[in-house]
Amino acid sequence: MWTFLATEVLFFGGLFAGYTVYRYLDPPAFATGSRQLDVTLGAINTGVLLLSSLTMALAVNSAQTDRKKQTVGFLAATLALGLVFLGIKFDEYRHKFEDRLVPGRNFALERLLHARSQEPAGVVGTIVKLGPHRVAIERGGNLAVFAATDKTRVTVNGRAAGVRDLAVGQALEIVAPPDRASADSLRAVSPRAEMFFSFYFAMTGFHALHMLIGVGVVVVVAIKAGRGRFSSLYYTPVEMTGLYWHFVDIVWVFLFPLLYLIDWHP
């Protein structure tokens, strides 16, 4: 079993080596790609998988000590946690498809980033007075004045920021324009970030495939355990399944920080 796991280490090792080289060649692209992933879901999935490793270890322990009911119970718990992991992973994949972040002809990270930068950055306050070059707003009893270059732009921090049409009594709502430099850098980084998503889908995809196989094996072993095929004298299949399951867990332990946490700003 350990020989098989050594070959598995090298199977994933090739992906990790490719990842290492391409991340070294282009750190900003990988950081941009990584920021599109959902750290909360990734962290929950890590916890789910670690817990499933605990239940798997307890299942092996139960088999070693002739506790048949507990063996089946812990295997069922492992199975359920494995399915929860796959469900969350499926949901993440669905969002990536919806956002068109799957590498290929329809990869549209630039469009997504551009659309996000156009989203209203929030209501600053209510406009109380409007001069030719200034706009006074009120928020929570405080007054503030911004320089206004025309009816759709105000200056904040020395930068022009787009707003909805200015009118007294209305909310001053900021629509941050992508400034020219950042629009250019979006255009430059997007195609390069596609490589990050290729690695994301290849690595998590092969990991999910291993999880699927693991789920199938756990079902078979749980049924056999239920039929009383294992005892403290013979529990090798349970132990081998455990080794495989823990290995798949270890792969995720490395994937989570490498894919989700490159440049995390919650």
């Binding site: 060649l25 750190p27 490793s53 921090n157």
Partner: protein, 130 residues
């Protein structure tokens, strides 16, 4: 196959340590440690993997043969990564005139949010009381 039966408390303790390390890796990722952040994240991941291999996978009480095979996979992976990066990390030095791997690197674009210091702006431009 190991014949040693570990106490369940060992498994609970290992799981607790793994969860603490997961929180630690999240905490470390929130701080900008620069080039260290990757090293810290990988160090934590290696410790987590070691805990799983040693306790969950019973290598602690495994035979020498099991230990040798468990180590072999990681040893070969280390060779793969070391040799691959020995190439890329030294390309700049070896081919200074043509650029090499570092040529693709680019400065991180500056933060585009003009609102980072909004409160400071409002304070400085507040309408004086009449």
């Amino acid at each position: 196959m190991s014949t040693h039966v570990a106490s369940r408390s060992v498994y609970y303790a290992t799981f607790a340590a793994l969860l603490i390390l997961l929180l630690l890796t999240l905490l470390a990722a929130r701080f900008d440690l620069g080039r260290l952040s990757l090293a810290v994240a990988m160090l934590i991941a290696v410790v987590k993997a070691a805990l799983i291999v040693v306790y969950f996978m019973h290598v602690r009480h495994g035979s020498s043969l099991v230990r040798a095979f468990a180590a072999a996979g990681f040893l070969w992976l280390a060779i793969l990564l070391t040799l691959a990066m020995a190439d890329y990390l030294t390309r700049d030095a070896a081919t200074e005139t043509t650029g090499g791997g570092g040529a693709l690197r680019e400065q991180k674009p500056p933060s585009v949010s003009p609102w980072a210091k909004r409160s400071a702006v409002e304070k400085s431009s507040r309408v004086p009381p009449r």
